[in-house]
Structure formats: structure tokens, C-alpha cells
């Protein structure tokens, strides 16, 4: 009897402890999510109620040319950023790790500073550096291509340029994560291996790389989610142009919702994006874990 009551009390205590979280989660995540799903089956404007129209938004979405262009651009951007930024972060982290004391702190500050900047500042800096008429980087383009390139107005340059800006901006955080991973590797492993005559290359391939893999996998997954959510840089630098070569799903959501007042349709697009990110990131994380399992 006493045990049962105790169990019940335990349950109540546990419930009361998680209740604040549950309440906030329900309020700011579950309820909005439910609303998005509901909205996506209506023809609601941005603000206000709409009529139930069943699957019409989805039917329309899957025959919308811009939707496929956006998905393609999102995928291209992921290719341009996720693996490159992880590799660059790893190289920087390995280099920083060899420094010590103040120099290491200074290097970290230098690499982390861009991450602190708000996106509008970052895009302003780069828009001016790459400005067609006055940009300080235009002589570089002139040197290689023979003439200045309006990078955010050129269909071939626009996404790679936005990728460069994005990597420059967000890389510092990845460096920190990987550096933390590096510091977690016990030094005696390296000592033992060195005594056995392992070369630098072997040290990296046999110790650093496999032991760092959990962190690398985390960085890759975080980056994948982040880069699929691309919006600010495109909105501020190219507005999706020229002729939709930098149009991405979130820009489509923004245009439909805020410019054309199609709240329901925008909800359908964002739901698809949400599902896409969820599925792709879970798949990727699982794949990376399997890959790691084989290695070790």
C-alpha cells in the first residue's frame, strides 16, 4: 500500500517536474505545428481564417515549377556548404590545436568573430566587398576572368558566392565544436602510438579521425539542417535571382505568405520543408553512425 502510494507520489512529482517543459513545448512548438498542418489544408490569407480545401495546396505545390527549382537550389547549396565547411573547420581546428596559450585564444577569437555578427552586417560587408562597381575583391575577378563579375546577379556565381559568405560567417562555431572534440582525445593514445613508431599521417588516420567522428557527424548534421533553412543571405544578397537561380524553399514561403497573402499555401510549403529537413537529417545521422560502426 505504502509502496503504491509512493509510486503514485513519485509519478506526480515527476509529472510536476516535467510539466513546465511540457507546457512550454506544447505552447511554442506542438500547437504552432498543429496550426501549420491545419492551415496547409485551407486557403487562408496571411492573417485570418480560410476555407477547407483538402489537398489542393499540395496538388498545386507539386505542379509548381518554382518548387522544383527551389528544391534543386537547396540541394546545390547543401553540396556547396555542408562538407566544405566541415573540412575547413577541421583544418582550422587542427591548426589552432597546435597553438598554445594566448596564441590559441587569439586565433580562436579571430575565427569566431564573424559568427558573432548579425546576418545583415555580414551581407553588407560582403555586398560591398563584392560590389560590381566599387568592390575591393573585383580586381581578383578581373585578374582571373578578365572582367569584373556582378556575382549576385550572375546565374553561375550567385549560389557559390552565397556559400562562401555563409561559410565565412558560420565556420567559427564548427571550429569550436571540433576543437572540443580534439581536446577530448586522450594524449596517452598519441604517446603510445608514437612509441610504436606511428607517422603523423597514421596518427591522424588511426586516432584523430575515428575518435573525432562523433563530433564530425554532429557538425555535419547540424550544418545540413542549418543550410537547408537558408533564407536570410539569399533575401539580402540576391532576392532569389537572377531568374530564380538562387530561389530557395524558405524564400518561396516568404513570398507566398507576405507578398501574395497566401497563408495556406505558404503553410503547405513550410510543412514540406519541415518534413524534408527532418527526414534528411535523421537519415544522414543514421548513415553516419552506420559508417562509423563499420570503421571501428
Amino acid at each position: 500500500m505504502a509502496i503504491i502510494r509512493n509510486k503514485r507520489r513519485h509519478g506526480l512529482v515527476a509529472l510536476s517536474l516535467i510539466l513546465p517543459f511540457l507546457a512550454i513545448f506544447a505552447l511554442v512548438f506542438a500547437y504552432p505545428l498543429y496550426e501549420v498542418v491545419r492551415l496547409s489544408f485551407t486557403d487562408a490569407p496571411l492573417i485570418g481564417e480560410g476555407n477547407w480545401i483538402g489537398l489542393d495546396n499540395y496538388v498545386r505545390l507539386f505542379s509548381d515549377r518554382i518548387f522544383y527549382i527551389s528544391i534543386k537550389n537547396n540541394a546545390y547549396f547543401v553540396v556547396l556548404t555542408v562538407i566544405p565547411t566541415t573540412l575547413i573547420a577541421m583544418v582550422i581546428a587542427l591548426a589552432v590545436n597546435r597553438l598554445s596559450g594566448r596564441w590559441q585564444a587569439l586565433a580562436l577569437v579571430l575565427f569566431f568573430t564573424p559568427y558573432v555578427l548579425p546576418v545583415s552586417v555580414v551581407t553588407q560587408i560582403w555586398a560591398w566587398m563584392l560590389d560590381f562597381q566599387f568592390g575591393v575583391l573585383q580586381p581578383v575577378f578581373t585578374f582571373f576572368t578578365g572582367k569584373p563579375v556582378p556575382v549576385f546577379k550572375n546565374p553561375y556565381w550567385v549560389l557559390p558566392s552565397i556559400a562562401v559568405v555563409t561559410i565565412w560567417w558560420t565556420n567559427g562555431f564548427n571550429v569550436l565544436l571540433i576543437l572540443a572534440g580534439l581536446r577530448n582525445i586522450p594524449t596517452d593514445l598519441y604517446e603510445a602510438a608514437a612509441l610504436d613508431g606511428a607517422t603523423r599521417r597514421q596518427l591522424f588516420a588511426r586516432i584523430t579521425w575515428p575518435l573525432l567522428w562523433p563530433v564530425t557527424a554532429l557538425v555535419l548534421t547540424l550544418q545540413l539542417i542549418l543550410q537547408l533553412k537558408l533564407f536570410d543571405q539569399v533575401y539580402l544578397l540576391s532576392e532569389g535571382g537572377p531568374f530564380n537561380t538562387s530561389y530557395v524553399l524558405l524564400l518561396m514561403v516568404y513570398r507566398e505568405a507576405f507578398q501574395l497573402n497566401h497563408g495556406g499555401y505558404a503553410a503547405a510549403i513550410s510543412l514540406i520543408l519541415f518534413l524534408l529537413i527532418a527526414v534528411v537529417s535523421v537519415l544522414q545521422y543514421q548513415l553516419l553512425r552506420i559508417g562509423r560502426g563499420k570503421d571501428t
Binding site: 492573417i47 556582378p150 546577379k153 531568374f243 501574395l260 497573402n261
Partner: protein, 430 residues
Amino acid sequence: MHFRKIALATALSLSAAIGVATPAFAQQTVTWWDFLSGGDGVRMKALISQFNEEHPDIQVKGTTLEWGVPFYTKVRTSAAVGQGPDVMTYHLSRLPLGLSEGVLTPITDADLENAGLAKADFFPAAEKAAEGPDGTLYAVPFDIHSIVLYYNKSFLEGSRFLDDQGNLTGIESVGDFEEAMQTAADNGAETPLTYATGDDGGVYRVFYTLLAQQGGTLISDDGEILPGDSTEKAIKAVETMTKWQTEGWQPEQALYEASVALFTSGKSAFQLNGVWEVPTMKDLATAGTLGFEWGAVQVPKLMETQTTWADSHAFAIPVHGKDEMDPEKRKAVMTVIGWMEKHSIAWAEAGHIPAYKPVADSAEYAQMQPNATYATLADSATYDPRNDIAGVASPVYDASINILSPAMHGYLTPEDAIAQMKSELESRMR
């Protein structure tokens, strides 16, 4: 010591409270939003402060927001929840979308009476553009603005394009215009013609003018995009603009400010830009820093007919969520609008043509140069298509920067560009 301080503070705050409450009549505060940040914004602020001085019972609190999508997005969201302004500036080209969004309140005859205005006081085209499909007025037109052709006389001296008085003459076709640009280039103009080739508005206004001059229709009344031979006319318009680009007559990817600077710094002989840059030119000429003689005329007949793109700034009263505006306040708002209309001669200084005819027909306006020279364009102007997807900050503007500008710069053929524009605009219609 402490006590005295507190007593003093209390006395001060008491007197402050009384000071606010002293006017026995109810003072109305009118919240005003506009998107006017250029030379015309300065003049609008002067008008507002003059109004406030003359009306102790009505105080206008003006806020300037960013032109275009940011402004209209903010208006829609704030009006829907009842946090919008009491009066705002609005583009009449944007009215169809505004009506479908349901952000505008009808301007009744009683409202007009409160403002001391009547429908017949306005240019018919502007008044028509302010009406909904059923003839209800939803905004009070304030001006008609358009693009005009600015010219720098120093590049044309001695050529057949300046008459005895030094005014622009002899441009009656694209051929003439191109010859004039070549003449200017030979006389040392770096980029003979400037407009914002890398911005939505700059590209759209020139494109729409060239299309309208051929008698083409962008969107028909029943919602067809580029019906019939309008497609070919649109292609011809893009071809013409592309030619100007490949010949090096117009700047590559010029953003708005840069395009104006090309003209004011004397590097361009011509500028196709809005009348709103007239004050900039006047101010520079008065300050003596311009360094050349300039003029502005209605865009010449480059194609078959003489017409120019035009739009109107108007005043509109947004909905306040589910609430009705207090009648006293609405009366105050209409007083503001009526006063502005009657003082719009000051607005004409900003280059715009007053939509209020008593001012546009006044002797004072007839004296104003170059305004009076190009004022005739009001009679032949072509307004934007009456459609949800047209007007300022609309998909049509997006298509201009997204598709037409790249085509001019050689990334797409004119045929491809128009085909893409057509399918894109069709997909935006619902």
C-alpha cells in the same frame, strides 16, 4: 532634504500632467506612415510640420518606413491586428492587391466632405485608379508620378538634338534616340543613358513604357498575361533595352543610387528616371555643384504612340483590426488629407504632378519648371495593370529584376525571358 526633493518631483510631475491635459478640446493625434525617404520625403516632412503648426487640435505623428515590400508587408500585418496607422501613403497601382487583402476602408462622400474635397477635383485617370471595381473610392489620389527623360545639355551642344533655346528636340523614334546616345558617346559621355538597370523599379518602368508605347498590354482585364501580339511587343521592348546594353549605352547592373549618381556627376547625357529626382537636380543646380545645364521632358515617342508608365501616390485609411475608427478621429484624418491636397503645390516641388486639379491648373504650377513642361504626360499616361500581381512590390516588379534584368545583361534571350516571365506570372495568379 529628501523630502524637498520628493516634493519638488511631485510638483513637477503634477504640473506636467496638468500641462498635457490643459487643452480643453480633445486633441487628436493622427499616426501617419509613409515610404518617402528621398528628396520628396524632406518636403513631406515640411508639409506635416506646417500642418501641425496650423492645427493645434490635430497633431500628425509621421513615421517613414522602407519603400516597397517592407512597407506593404508591415501595413498588412499591422492593420489586420489593429496596430496600423491612421493614415498612410499608398500606391494606386497597389490598390487591387490592397483590396484583396482587405486592408483599405472605403472613403465615403461624407469623408470627402469633411476634407473639403469632391471626386471631380481630381484627374479622372487617378480618381479611377483609386476606385474599387464597384466604383467605391478607397484612397484619395495625391499625385501622378511617372518617369521622364532628363538630359544633360553639354553633351548635345551643336547637334540637331538641341533647339535654339537649348531644349531637347528631334527625338521621335528609337532610331533618333539611339543616334542621340551615340552623339553623346562621341562627345565623351561615359554611359550615354542611365537608369537603374540592376533594380526592379528601374527596369520595370522603362520596360512597361516601351511596351505601352507599342500599344501592348501586360495583363488584360480578364487576367491574361501579354495577350495576343503583346508577347511580341514585350520581346521587342526587351530587345531594345538589350541593344542599349550591348552597345554600352546604359550602365551594367546599376543600382538605383549609382544610376542617379551617373547623371548628377555628369557621366551620362540622359537619365530615364522618376519625376521625384527633380528636387535633387534643382537642389544641386541651386547649390552650384551640378556643373552642367539640365532639362527634363516627357519620355519621347520611341515606339508608335506617346505614353509613359505612371502611378499615383494616394492617401488611404487602413482597417483597424475588427474595430471601427472613432468618427472624431476619422474626421481629423480627413482634415489632414484635405489640407495636404490643397497644399500640394509644395509636393509639386518634389517633382510630382498634383492629382488635385485646382493646384495642377493654378498659375503657380504653370510657372514651375521643368514640371510644367512634362505635366502633359498626365493626360496620356498608362497606369499599371489592374491586377493583384501588378503594382509596386508585386510579382511583376520581382519578374523585372529576376528575369528582365538578366536578359538585358545577356544571360537569357529576350524570347526566353518573356516566355519565363509569362509562365511565372501565370503561376502567381490564383
